[in-house]
Each structure stands twice: as C-alpha cells, then as structure tokens.
C-alpha cells in the first residue's frame, strides 16, 4: 500500500512525514516524528493520554488519521513549555504532586491548558467535567484538580495588570 506524504505544523515548527493511510496522528507523532510524550493508553479515545490540540481544538490523537494533519497545526505536550520555562499547569502539577506514575500526565496537562485557555476561572465541577475524558488510575484526581485550579489562579494573577 502506498504511503501518504503529510506536511503539517507541530508545536510551531514545520514537519513532514510519510504514513500508512490507516495510521493515526498519534502513531505519526510517536513513530514518525519521535514525539513520544503523547501516550497510547487505549487507542479508542477513552483514556485521553494521547490528547493534543489540532487547530485549537482538543482531540484524542488516536482518533485522528495522521493524514488529517495535512496543512493543520498540532500542539502536543512537547510544546506546552516555552523553551525551558514550564507552563503554570506543568509547574503546579509538580508543586501539588499531581502525578504518580506520570503516564497520563501529558494528556492531562494538554487538556488542562486547553481548559484554562478558554476559561481561566473554572469551578471545581467544571474542571472535573472538562477532565472527565482523561483517565488517571494513580491519583484519584484530587491533586490533579487542585493543581489545575491553582494554575488558573496563577494565570489570572499574571494577566491582571499590577
């Protein structure tokens, strides 16, 4: 089967790869581009470990064909920090010990950032429902929810003129 040539943008940089027509965006990110931060927990869109942002929309990259990335902009966990400066969500995950094994963490961070980009002041219930597509088996979600709310507070503070 002939492979498809895809030109796309990943974390602001031009990227291209060849893919099998049936390959998922997750496969392309992990196997063709070497970006293994996005994880495969289920391959069926149920766990959220592969969450990325495609043209501003949060998606499970395991449910997107790799070929669909043509001409579009993908943002992954590897693009959340600005250089060596962690995003407040990342920083708060560390400070609140919001990860244990850390395997689901990239998906949670991408999803939480997408929430705070949209709504910098979510309630606990809004955080819990926004993140309901991301499975974590280690933490019981308590510290994750606290980290996300605390990151929101920091972002609001940063955005408020002194």
């Amino acid at each position: 089967m002939s492979r498809i040539h895809v030109s796309t943008t990943v974390n602001g940089d031009a990227a291209e790869f060849l893919c099998d027509p049936a390959a998922s965006l997750l496969d392309a990110l992990r196997d063709s581009l070497g970006l293994t931060g996005s994880k495969e927990g289920c391959g069926s869109g149920d766990c959220g470990a592969c969450t990325v942002v495609l043209d501003g929309e949060m998606v499970c990259s395991c449910l997107v064909f790799a070929a669909e990335a043509e001409g579009r902009a993908v943002r992954t966990i590897e693009g959340v920090a600005e250089g060596s400066v962690l995003h407040p969500v990342q920083q708060k995950f560390l400070e609140h010990a919001a990860l244990q094994c850390g395997f689901c963490t990239p998906g949670f961070i991408v999803a939480a950032k997408a929430l705070l980009d949209r709504n910098p002041d979510p309630t606990e219930t809004e955080v819990r429902y926004w993140l309901a597509g991301n499975l974590c088996r280690c933490t019981g979600y308590d510290k994750i929810v606290r980290a996300v709310m605390d990151a929101g507070a920091q972002l609001r503070q940063e955005r408020t003129p002194a």
């Binding site: 099998d20 293994t36 994880k39 995950f93 010990a97 244990q100 499975l135 979600y141």
Partner: protein, 756 residues
C-alpha cells in the same frame, strides 16, 4: 489528631519537595515502556486464542514466515523443555512452567486471549498481517468460568495434574482447586451457637482489572554470544530477569534489564508476559524486537484480580463483643495458580479480637486470564464481606458501627488469625481519628447515607540493594534497584538527605538496571519506602562515616575526633577542634586520602509492620435510577511516618478511588461463549474526575520502631476498606444491604424496586 506520636524533629522527612523525575514527566520527555526504540528494531505482534478452552491440534506458520518483511515467528514449542520450579520472585510464588505457558500456550489454550503465536516484522502493519496468515487448528473443549461451577463434580479440568495444595492427605483426583488454606483458633461452631446476636451473609464479585494506563511493552535484543538486553516497564526488573532467564534456561547474568519509566502497575506488572517472547523472536531474527499490548490485550490477557464468593458468619454477645467469626471464600485464579487466597486469609478478620476464628480460602482455576496481584491482593474482596457483616451486626445490636469496631479492635499483642501477635499497629488510633473527624458527625441530606469500614494489609520488607556515592563536588547519587512507580525517588532522596544533613537537591536518586545494582525485590507489597529506604539509610550512614574518616585523615587527627554535624565534618577534640569541612571539600581531596567514596547496602529488610485504615464515605442514591454518587470521602490511615506526605496522601487517594470504582462499576463481563465482553475503557468503566469528590486524607503517624524514620508501608491499605465503606453508605441511604459487586445502577435500582 494528625500530629506525629513522636516529637522528634526532622529536617527533610515530612517535607514535600518536587520529585527529581518530575520535569521529565510534565514535559513528555520521560521514556515509558512503549516509548523505547532500538536501532534496527522489529515490530512484534501476538496471535491470541478466540476460544476459552481448546486443545491446539496444529499451528501452521509457513504462510506467515513467507510474507515479505516477516523475520521471525514463535510458538510455545520454542521454549526449552522445562522442569517444574517454583520461584519466589514478583509478588508471591510462580511455577516457571506456568509462566512460560502463559507467555505462549503449549498444548492447550486456557482462556480467550491466551497467546498462541508471535511474529516479528519490519513494520507493525506487516506483523499484524502475518498474524492473519497463521493457521491454528483448535479442538474446542468445554470451559468453565464460575467458582462453584469449576469446583463441581465433572467440571472441565484445566490442568490434569492439579492436586489441591494444603489438603491432607493429598486428594485422590485432580481438580480445579489449586490451593486451600485454613487458619484460626477456638471453637467457632459452639461460640456461634451461643452468641446472643449473629449475622451471616454471602457476598460475590467478578474479577476487576488493575487498570494501569500504560499497556505492557518491551524491547528485547538477544545477541549471537547469548547476551541480551531487555528494556521494559515493570515493577521489578530483577523479577523480569529471573523469570525470563528461567523460562529460557539461560544464565541470569546474560540478561541486562533496563527499567524504563513505568505507567502504573498496582501489582499487575510483577511478572512477565512479553519479555520471553520478544527474546525468542530476537534470537530467531538476530534483531531487537518490540512487543506491546493493546488495551484489548491488556484486559484479555494480563492479570485481573480475582472475583470471589465469600460466606461470613459473625456472632457477638449482648454488649457487642465479638465471640466468633467464620469466613470461607473462593477466589478465581484464572488459568494458573495464583496467590491471593493466602493473603486473603491473613487479611480477613485479624483486625478484631475474637477468641474463636476460622478463615478458609480456596484458589479456583477457571478459563479466565491468570489472576495477578492487585494492590493488597486478596484483601479487598474478603474485607468487603467482613466489614459489611459488621455493619449489619451493628444495626442488630443497636450500637454505632464505629463504636462497635472500637470495642473489638485488635491492639498490639492481640493474636492475628495466624496466632502471631500484632506488633505496634495503629488501628485503634485510626478509629479514634475517624470518631474525632468532623466528617463522622456532619449532617446528611436527603437520599444520603454514611458508611464506615476498616481494613489492613500486612506490608512487606525483603531484599533491596542500594549504592550511595559521592561525586567529586560533594553531591550525592543514590542508586536503587526499585522501580519508582509513584514518587519513591523523592522519598529516597529525602531519607539520604536526612542522614547526610544536606539539602535535598544535593542528593539525586536513580533506578539502576540489573547489571548496575544488586538484586532488589519488586516495587510491591508496600515495601519500597520501608525496605529500600532502610538500605538507603544504611548506605548513607556508611558514606557519612567514611566522610568523617577522610576528614580525620586529611586533618591528621584521630578518626574518633571527627563527627558529622549540620551537613559537615567537624573536629570535636584536640588542637583542630572546631575545624569543619563540607562533603565537597572532603570529596575534592578524596583521591589523596583513600580514593572514591561510596557505600553499598544489600539487605533483607525485616521489621516491617502492617498498615491499617478506616474510611468514611457519604453517598447519595438516586431513587429513580439507582445511581450512586460519592458525596464525601475521608480516608484515615496509620502511615508510620510519612516521608513525603504528598505522595503518601496520593497513595491513599488513589487507592480509595480504585476501591470506589471496584465498588460501583468495575467488573469483567463474560458472554455465554466464554469471551470477555468489555475489554476496553468505554465498557470497563473506571472512575473519572467527575465521578468523585476530593478525597480527604488523615495521616495518623504511629511510627514503626524498626525503621530509622518510622516508615510503614502505605500503598496497599487504602484499597481495602472502600468496598464495604461504599456498601455500608448505600445501606445507610436506602436500608438495602447490597452483597454483590459492583453496585452499579441496575443492581441498586433492582434492590430499591424489587417489583421492577
């Protein structure tokens, strides 16, 4: 309430620094099992049985081998001829023949999903296509899934050579009961007959999965000279080495296992499924081979925790003192003997002082995937029954359920079910903390109910090896053989920094591979912070002594005149009294005063103590739908000493939510054909963030006198009480006693509306 029992002040123990592996994990840089690739690597795939029980008449792999891009095909026949050998690695004991047969079936498949053949090819697509070209001829056999069905006369037999262990004399006929264990003391029948109040009940549940988000994955590379490397995510890379070498009949030192970051395990990653198969494919192809499971394969072929049928009878006198307890349970082992019944017997009812106690557990083979350890393996099932029965007894007696537990709680010196007296346990302290907690007396709303349950887990110690070494600038490296599954590198660094009295950031901790450190048991059994921590403390103390000796040599003073104080060597006597040197200053001159500074501690850690917990749960039950919402949850636990309280709280919160999932939603669902119907996260419904509230934790600290900082294991206890805590809360809300898990909306609805 939350204050440590001892007043000893620590500089680092009890603080909450950021974990050393944290940035890698929040930026996506950390390499987990499925992330690793080796140059020239082939992609493997496994063909699995569609039948729950069948004889393999033939396997024809010729077409698959002929497919372009296929470099190797393996079947069970590629394993060497093995003699039965029971190895005590991983969690519990396993016979290497069973380990091998579970990796690749030999003459029979024993469950749907049982691996039958494997291929390695240049791309994943070719590997999958090759699987479809393998022709397996099966002779289907009758299968059995249920516990009582599997024990019935004439049931399909999984292993013709299985004679129940623990029964004297040995049974005359083989059966599906692989093991029976009985423990206790006193005259239970007489005491039950004479008890003023008794309760009895039968409780059931299906198997549940550990549910780690990272599927199993490995890369193996076996060279022509017989030496091999394996990269994998596991709770115990030494267990991977020992089991893989044993089933392949090669020397352990010829395998070097590199532990990658591990994406959850909960006991389920304490064995091998893929590694020996990847090794065979690598030897055949001469190239590194990657094998990884899909989520579907994880559900169908990696170990769930056993389901259970549990019968309980408890008797009390009119004052509510327990007089007798009888507990008998059967656990699913699945396709091969498992280990849960022994721990289940020990974890059933030993937390109460009862003069007449009998606990009997049976392991039952059936055509399901081989059960594997899941957080406090064997304890939550039987605890659900016992703690539900005690709630029921409290109702009959008209005594507050917390008060009833306090009245009967075992304390130091009371006998466990084995007869061995309890050590310094903190069970009563947990119940007192629960009683004092505002949650216990908070008002409830309409359709709400409150439940309490307590439980315990024995914890463990065992073998750990640690090296603490000093860098030339005075910073320290701690290398352990214990995979870090939830922040243990931070805990190890804290303990070393405490001994050396230096800043936390001056100590970095890594997980070393099997060739770089000595044997260490799996990260499991809640043993790591206790046992590996003990080794860290010993090694750090040795380094501290050496630093003092070197300072003495450098200052030309007697060794006894130098002490370690405030992170520095200090001369305390003679002319040079008051002279100080940091680790960095001593390290800079180390090569002129005796050479590099490092210390190894290889120990078999003894002196572990069990952990106890008491959980309070509030639920709200929707009378129309039967849906149960967790409204409030408080988990109280004796943790000994919390080295890094964030990660101790995290263990408690995570365990509690796993228990909530087990109570309310999780179960393996099999169809009439013996095939798993819910092998995915959509249909196997684990809790999500919107299902649960914040999980409040109370860390009671009753230090372990046998650990330098008082550590008791914390990871497993918190999954023990939730099942009954939720059930008791549902009873509080509805008056209905649910004895079958999961308490999903259909079951609750049926209980509320028996007429339909």
């Amino acid at each position: 309430m939350n204050a440590p029992v001892t007043i000893k002040q620590f500089r680092h123990v009890g603080t909450r620094p950021v974990r050393p592996d944290g940035v890698d994990k929040v930026t996506g840089k950390a390499l987990y099992g499925p992330d690793f690739k080796a140059p020239g690597m082939l992609w493997g795939a496994i063909l699995r049985s569609p039948h729950p029980h069948a004889r393999i008449a033939s396997i024809d792999t010729r077409k698959a081998e002929a497919l372009a891009g296929v470099k190797a095909v393996a079947t069970g026949r590629d394993f060497p001829t093995l003699q039965s050998l029971v190895m005590h690695v991983g969690e519990g004991a396993s016979d290497i023949i069973h380990v091998a047969r579970n990796c690749l079936a030999f003459d029979k498949v024993l469950y749907e999903g049982h691996a039958v053949a494997a291929v390695a090819a240049t791309t994943p697509e070719i590997a999958r296509e090759a699987l479809s070209l393998i022709a397996v001829e099966y002779e289907e056999l009758p299968f059995v899934l249920g516990l009582e069905e599997a024990l019935a006369e004439g049931a399909p037999l999984l292993h013709a050579d299985m004679f129940t262990k623990g029964v004297e004399p040995r049974p005359e006929k083989p059966s599906n009961a692989s093991m029976r264990l009985e423990m206790g003391f006193g005259d239970v029948d007489a005491a039950l007959a004479n008890a003023a109040f008794t309760v009895s009940g039968r409780y059931t549940m299906e198997p549940v999965h550990q549910g780690y988000i990272e599927p199993h994955a490995c890369v193996a590379s076996w060279n022509a000279d017989g030496q091999a490397q394996i990269w994998c995510s596991t709770q115990g890379h030494f267990a991977v080495r020992a089991l893989t070498a044993s089933v392949l009949a090669i020397p352990q030192a010829d395998i070097r296992v590199m532990p990658l970051e591990i994406g959850g395990g909960f006991g389920g990653k304490t064995t091998v499924y893929l590694e020996p198969v990847a090794m065979i494919l690598s030897r055949k192809s001469g190239r590194p081979v990657r094998l990884a499971m899909t989520r579907d394969e994880v559900f169908r072929a990696s170990g769930p925790a056993p389901g259970a049928i549990i019968e309980v009878r408890i008797g009390a006198d009119a004052q509510g003192l327990f007089k007798a307890a009888y507990v008998e349970f059967k656990y699913h082992s699945g396709a091969f003997p498992a280990i849960d019944a022994a721990a289940g017997v020990a974890s059933a009812i030993g937390h109460y002082r009862i003069a007449n106690t009998r606990v009997i557990g049976t392991e039952v083979l059936c055509n399901r995937p081989a059960a594997k350890a899941y957080r406090a393996p064997g304890a939550p099932q039987v605890n659900f029954a016992v703690e539900s029965a005690i709630d029921e007894l409290a109702g009959k007696l008209g005594i507050d359920p917390l008060e009833l537990r306090l009245r009967n709680a075992a304390a130091q010196g009371d006998p466990q079910t084995s007869g061995v007296p309890w050590g310094r346990i903190g069970w009563i302290e947990c119940l007192e903390a629960a009683k004092a907690h505002p949650h216990w007396s908070a008002p409830l709303g309409p359709n709400q109910g409150r439940g309490i349950a307590g439980g315990y887990w024995g914890n463990y110690g065992g073998p750990s090896t640690v090296v603490v070494s000093l860098a030339e600038d005075g910073t320290f490296t701690v290398a352990t053989g214990s995979p870090d599954i939830g922040g243990s590198r931070a805990a190890m660094a804290i303990m070393a920094a405490e001994v050396l009295d230096v800043p936390y950031q001056q100590v970095r901790c890594i997980v070393a591979d099997t060739a770089s450190i000595g044997v260490s048991m799996v990260t499991g059994g809640s043993r790591t912070t206790f046992a590996t921590g003990k080794a860290v403390v010993e090694a750090a103390q040795a380094v501290r002594r050496t630093l003092c000796e070197r300072a003495a040599r450098q200052w030309n003073v007697p060794a006894g005149s130098v002490e370690w104080s405030d992170g520095e060597a200090v001369c305390i006597a003679g002319e040079k009294a008051g002279t100080r040197a940091t680790a960095g200053q001593i390290a800079a001159r180390a090569s002129h005063s005796g050479g590099p500074i490092a210390a190894l501690s290889a120990i078999n850690a003894a002196g572990w103590l069990p952990g106890f917990g008491a959980h309070i749960c509030d639920v709200e039950v929707d009378p129309e739908t039967g849906h149960v919402r967790i409204v409030r949850y408080t988990a109280i636990q004796d943790v000994g000493t919390a080295i890094h309280p964030d990660y101790v709280e995290g263990q408690i919160q995570g365990g509690a939510v796993q228990g909530i999932g087990w109570a309310l939603n999780e179960a393996y669902v099999y169809g009439a054909s013996g095939r798993l119907d819910n092998a995915g996260f959509l249909d196997y419904r684990m809790p999500v963030a919107s299902d649960v509230p914040m999980i409040d934790t109370v860390m009671v600290e009753v230090p372990n006198p046998d650990h330098p900082y008082g550590v008791k294991g914390v990871g497993e206890v918190p999954i023990v009480p939730p099942l009954a805590a939720v059930a008791n809360a549902i009873h509080g809300a509805t008056g209905k006693r649910l004895r079958d898990l999961p308490m999903a909306p259909d079951r609750v609805h049926a209980a509320l509306h028996p007429q339909g």
